[in-house]
Symmetry: D2
Subunit: 356 residues, 4 copies
Amino acid sequence: MSATWGEKFKITLFGESHAEAIGAVLDGVPAGFRLDTDAIAAEIARRAPGGDLSTPRKEADQVRLLCGVKDGVAEGTPIAAVIFNTNVKSSDYSQLERLMRPGHSDYGYHVKYGGHNDVRGGGASSGRLTAPLVFAGAVAKQLLAEQGIAVGAHILSVADVEDERFGTQIDPAVFARLSAMRLPLLDESKTDAVRAAIEGARKDGDSVGGVIQCAVTGVSAGVGSPFFESVESRIASLAFSVPAVKAVEFGDGYGLTKLRGSQANDPMRYDGGVVKTTTNRNGGVIGGVTNGMPIVFDVAIKPTASIFKPQDTVDVVAKEDAVLTLKGRHDPCIVTRAVPVIEAIAAIAVFDLLGR
Amino acid sequence: MSATWGEKFKITLFGESHAEAIGAVLDGVPAGFRLDTDAIAAEIARRAPGGDLSTPRKEADQVRLLCGVKDGVAEGTPIAAVIFNTNVKSSDYSQLERLMRPGHSDYGYHVKYGGHNDVRGGGASSGRLTAPLVFAGAVAKQLLAEQGIAVGAHILSVADVEDERFGTQIDPAVFARLSAMRLPLLDESKTDAVRAAIEGARKDGDSVGGVIQCAVTGVSAGVGSPFFESVESRIASLAFSVPAVKAVEFGDGYGLTKLRGSQANDPMRYDGGVVKTTTNRNGGVIGGVTNGMPIVFDVAIKPTASIFKPQDTVDVVAKEDAVLTLKGRHDPCIVTRAVPVIEAIAAIAVFDLLGR
Amino acid sequence: MSATWGEKFKITLFGESHAEAIGAVLDGVPAGFRLDTDAIAAEIARRAPGGDLSTPRKEADQVRLLCGVKDGVAEGTPIAAVIFNTNVKSSDYSQLERLMRPGHSDYGYHVKYGGHNDVRGGGASSGRLTAPLVFAGAVAKQLLAEQGIAVGAHILSVADVEDERFGTQIDPAVFARLSAMRLPLLDESKTDAVRAAIEGARKDGDSVGGVIQCAVTGVSAGVGSPFFESVESRIASLAFSVPAVKAVEFGDGYGLTKLRGSQANDPMRYDGGVVKTTTNRNGGVIGGVTNGMPIVFDVAIKPTASIFKPQDTVDVVAKEDAVLTLKGRHDPCIVTRAVPVIEAIAAIAVFDLLGR
Amino acid sequence: MSATWGEKFKITLFGESHAEAIGAVLDGVPAGFRLDTDAIAAEIARRAPGGDLSTPRKEADQVRLLCGVKDGVAEGTPIAAVIFNTNVKSSDYSQLERLMRPGHSDYGYHVKYGGHNDVRGGGASSGRLTAPLVFAGAVAKQLLAEQGIAVGAHILSVADVEDERFGTQIDPAVFARLSAMRLPLLDESKTDAVRAAIEGARKDGDSVGGVIQCAVTGVSAGVGSPFFESVESRIASLAFSVPAVKAVEFGDGYGLTKLRGSQANDPMRYDGGVVKTTTNRNGGVIGGVTNGMPIVFDVAIKPTASIFKPQDTVDVVAKEDAVLTLKGRHDPCIVTRAVPVIEAIAAIAVFDLLGR
C-alpha cells in the first residue's frame, strides 16, 4: 500500500491516468543543486508518445515544480512535481467497469478496491505514472553525473529481433548516442527489423514485447549491502514497479545457469592499479554489493495488454463470461517508450544506495 | 544497510558464517499462534547440507527461540531465533584476507567494510544466513496454511537438464511430495540426469547452477499494490537477497517477450462462480496485484562460486595479480539446498502483503 | 530528512510558505470511503487566520484534490492534496537572508541548507505547512468517526490564564461545542482573560504562548505497542513536528512526578461489563498501549517567534552582530490556530495505529 | 507493532523479562570501529539494580555479542547483543494472569495479545528491556565521542525535591562526574533529601517518580529536519518508548508558555566567530533543527507502578472487581536507574540523525 520508495532519495508517487494530475514528491535532493530543467524535459519527451511507432495521442507532459526549487536551485526540501492531465478522453472507457481487460490489472484492482478504482486509462497502474518516475530519474541522473556515474539503456530485443549485448567494458559515450535514437539499438542494422515487428503487430491489431538492457557505469566497488539491501533487490523492486515488467536479470542471469562455475566466475586483474574483472557475467554486483564493474541488468517487457482483437473475458457486473473488443489508441509496443523509464529506475536505485 | 525487511511481518537478520551465531528477529507473528516446531525443524533440515549431493560438512542448525514464544505459543511480541555456529573450521580460510575469490562478494565487501569484514565462510553473505530465512519462512508457511495458502517449489533445471513447468492449475498436494524429495522434480525421470550433472561438476572440481520454480496457491485476487509494493517487487526484493540468485521472472517472464499480446493475455472465464484465467502466463500477478491464479515465479541460481580449479584473481594486500586454488568443502551445486530458501522468501513476502 | 510519516495511513508533506503551493500526499484512505469535503473545509477554516485575534492576512487555503478521489469517493490510491499559495507578499522578507530571526529556525536551516533554503514566510518550517496536516487530520477524523472515535481539544492555558482540564469521563459532544468556538475553552468565563492576554501582547509588539489539551475518545483497549510504537511515541513524534511545540505530556505528565504510586496508579473497575479506571491520570495509555480510557495529552506552544520589538541577532552575511526589527503581519498568539492542528495530528496518529 | 527503530543506526529490540533472553540487533555501526567493551559494561552497570536505593534483586546483565564484532572491532554488519535472563523467579507472578496491576500495562496487553502475553516481570514492557537500549546507547555514545559530542543527564527532581537545571553553557566534564554518582545531582546538597524521599516511599510500601534532565553537547547547527524528522520528534519517539516516561519537554518546555516572545526567543551573538545564543530556552533545537547550542530536554518518570499497598483492580478471568496486594521485589523509585537509559536514547537519536 506504499506509494513511497527510497531512503536517502525518497520518491512518493501519485495520480491516475484520468485524474486531474499525476506527479511525485522527491525528498533528498541536496540543497544547492542546480536542476537542469532542459535535460529533465528531454527525458520526459523520450518517454512521451507521439512518434510513428507509438500511439497517436498527443500528451503535453509538462512538469510543474510546486515547491522545493527556487530560481532553478534545489532548496533541500521536498520537491513536488506535478503533470496535469490535459488530454483525457474518458468516453473511450465506458465499458471497462463491466468487462475486465485480459492482461490488465483490471480484475485484481476491481477486487482490491471494491470497484472504486478509476478504470479509465489504466487507472492507478497506468503507464502514465512512469512519467513522474522519469522525472525523478532525470534528477537522479544529474546527481549521479556529478560523481562520474552514467546510466544508459538499449533495446535488447523486440519479439524475435535481437540486438547485441553491452560488452564487458562500456564507454558511457554510447549512452548519449542511444538516448538520441528513437529505436535505441547497439546494432543499428536491426532498426528496420524492429520496426517491421512493431508495424506487423499493429496491422494485426495485436502487440509485441521485448527486452531492455540497462547499464550503470562509474559506480565504485562497495555499494549496496548483503541481503535485503542488495543492489539487485533495490533495482528489482523498482523495476517490477514498472507496469509490464515481468522479469529482471543481472549480468548473464539465466545464462549463468548453463555455465559451470569456472566460466561464471569473473576473473579479477589489476588494471592500471584498479581491480577489474576480465568478463562481467555477474553484472557488476556480487553478494549484493558492487565490484566496480558496470552494473548491467535487463528486464522483460510483456506485449502491450491493450489489443484490438476480440478477447475472452468476464463481465463482473453481470457475473458472466463475455467477449471484449477494445477501441481507442494504444501502442502496439511500449518497449521503446520504456527505455527511459528503466534508465530512470536504475538511476533512482543507485543514487539512493550511494553513501549508505 | 538494512538488515530488516517487511511491514506486517518483519524480519531482522544477523550473523556471519563463523561468528558465534546467526539468527533472526521475527516481528508480526500473531499472539496465540501455536508454532509447529517439528515442521520448522523439517524445513531447516531440508536446507541443511549432508546429503550425498552436497558438502560433507555436518551442521546441527538447531533453532533456539530466545523470546516471544511461551509453551509453544506466540506471545505477539518479537521472536528472536538463534542458531549457534557449532562446527566452524576457521583454519581453512587463512589466505582469504589476501586473495579475493572470483564470483564471491569478497572484493566488494573488502572495499565496503574497509577490510574489517569476516571473510571466513563467506562472512556476511554466507549461504548460512539463509537458515534463519528458512526459519522465518517456515513460520510464514504455517500462518499462510491457516488461510488456505500453500507454497511449493521444484528444480526447473540444473545445468542443461530441464524439468517440466508447473501447469496452469496447481494442486497443492504436489508440494508435499516435492518437499520430501532430495531432488524435487516434477518429472522424476530426470533425477539421474540431474545427479549426473552435479557429480560431473564435482569430479572436475567445478560447479553447476540451475533454476528453481516456485508457486503459491490459494491467494485470492486483490493482494499487492500498484507500483512500489507490487507482489513482484516484494518477492523479487527478497529473492535477490538470497546469495547466488541472479534473475527472477514471473509467469513466463522472458518467454512473454516472444509472444504477441493476443497470446500473452490470459483469457478470463467464470469457473464455478470464480473468475479464473485459462492460461497463467502472467504468473498470477498483473499490475502488481494478484488475480486469484497461483503466483508462479522462478529464479536463476548461478553455479557455486567456490570451485577447486585454479582461478585468476588479485591479492589485495600485495596489490598484484595472483592465482587462487581453493581447498575445503563446498557444494558443487546449491540449487537443491536453495529450494526451501526460495519457498521461504515466497512465504514471507506473501504473508507480509496480506491484509495490507 | 523524511517528509513521510505513517505506516497504514501515510502522509507525505511538501511546500514552503512562499512556494507555488503546499500540500500532502495521503496514502491509506480505504477505497469506497466518501470524503466529507464540507467538514474538511471547515477544519481548514478553523486553522486559517483572519479572526480579530489573529494576523490580518487573508488566506484562501482551498484544498484541491489532484487524484485518488472520484465523485467524492476515495479510490484507494494515494490522494494528492494541494493548496496553492495565492497571497504571498515576498517584499516583506528581504532582510531575512542576512539577519537570523531569534526563536525561528532561520539559523539552523541556513547551516543545514547552505543558505539555499527559502527564508520567506518561515520557509520549510512555516506554520502554513500545518494546513495540509489539518487536511489529513480531517480525513482521519472522518475515518475514526466510523469506528466511534472522536477527537477534540481546547486551550488549556494562554500565558497565565488557565482553563479547566478534561475530566476522567469525556462526553464527545463537548468536542463539537469546542470546535465551534473561536477561543475553545471548557471554562468560557476565561474568554475575556485569554483575549486580554493576547491583545496585551499585541499592543506591546510582543507575543504569548500557551498549552493545548487534546483528547481522543472511543479507542478500545489494546491499541499501540510496547516500546517504539507506543501510542505516546507516535503521537509525540507528530506533535513535535508541529512548529512551536516544545513539550508533550500524557495524562497528568509532570504532575505525576509529584504523586506517589498509590495516587498515580489509576484504579480499575468493571463498569457495565467494561473495564474502566476511576481516574485517568495516565491519559489512557500505559506501557505504550491504550487501556480503553480517553487518550489525553497536552502540548506546550511557545510564544510566536515573530515579534516587533528590536532583537539581538547575527548577520550571517557580514558575520557580525546585529539588531533585527521585524515588520509585517504576525499573530501575537498562535495557540488558537494550533488547536485544530493538534487535533489533526492526534487523529492521524491514532488512525495509523488502529488494526496494527 | 515495530520493534525496529532508526534509519542510519537501526536498533531491533527483543525479549521479555522472564524469557530466556533479552537483546537487540544493532545495524549501522561503521566497519572498523573498535568498541570499548569496558565502557559498555559500565553503562549497563549504571542501569542495573542492586544499590541501597533499589530492588535487592541481583542481575548479572552480561552482554554477549553474537556477531558483527571480531577481535573487538565492528565488521560493519549487524551486531546481535544478547543478555540471558539468569535470575528469574517466576513463582512471584502467579496471580497476575487474573489480576491486572493498576498503573501497569497488564490490561492493555491482555486485550492486545488476547491473554497470550507473558505477564511475568512486566513481560514485553518490562524495564529490563531498557538494558539492550543502554547497550545501544553506549555504542552510540562512543561513536558520538569521535565527533566531539557528549551526552549526560542528572536527576532534576524526585517527588518534591528539585535539583538545579543545566545552565546555558554546559561543560561536558560535568557528565563524567554525574555518571559516577549513584544519585546524579548538580546540587549535591540535595542528595539526602532525595534519599529520604525514596526511603520514605519504600517504608510506606509506596513509590515516587521524578524528572530527568539530559543534555547533548557538541552537536553543530543544522542537524535534524523540519516536521517529521525534527530532533524533538526523534528524541521524543524514543523517550516515550521507555516505560514510565509520561512527558518530554525541550529547553524550558512548559515554562516557555509563561513567557512572552521577547523573553522566549534566545538572542544570538557571535562568540569567537561562532554563532551562539545568550540563553538556551529553546533547548538547542528550533524548527526541528539544531542551532549549535546544547540539546537539552527532560522527561517525566511516573512513580513505580508496582507498590505494596492494596489496590482496586479487576479480575479478568472472573470478570469482577478485585483487590490486588503485590509481593516481591520492586524499586520504590526507578528515576536513578532511568538516568543512563535517557542518556542512551538521546545518544541513539542524535547519532541516527547525523549526516542525514
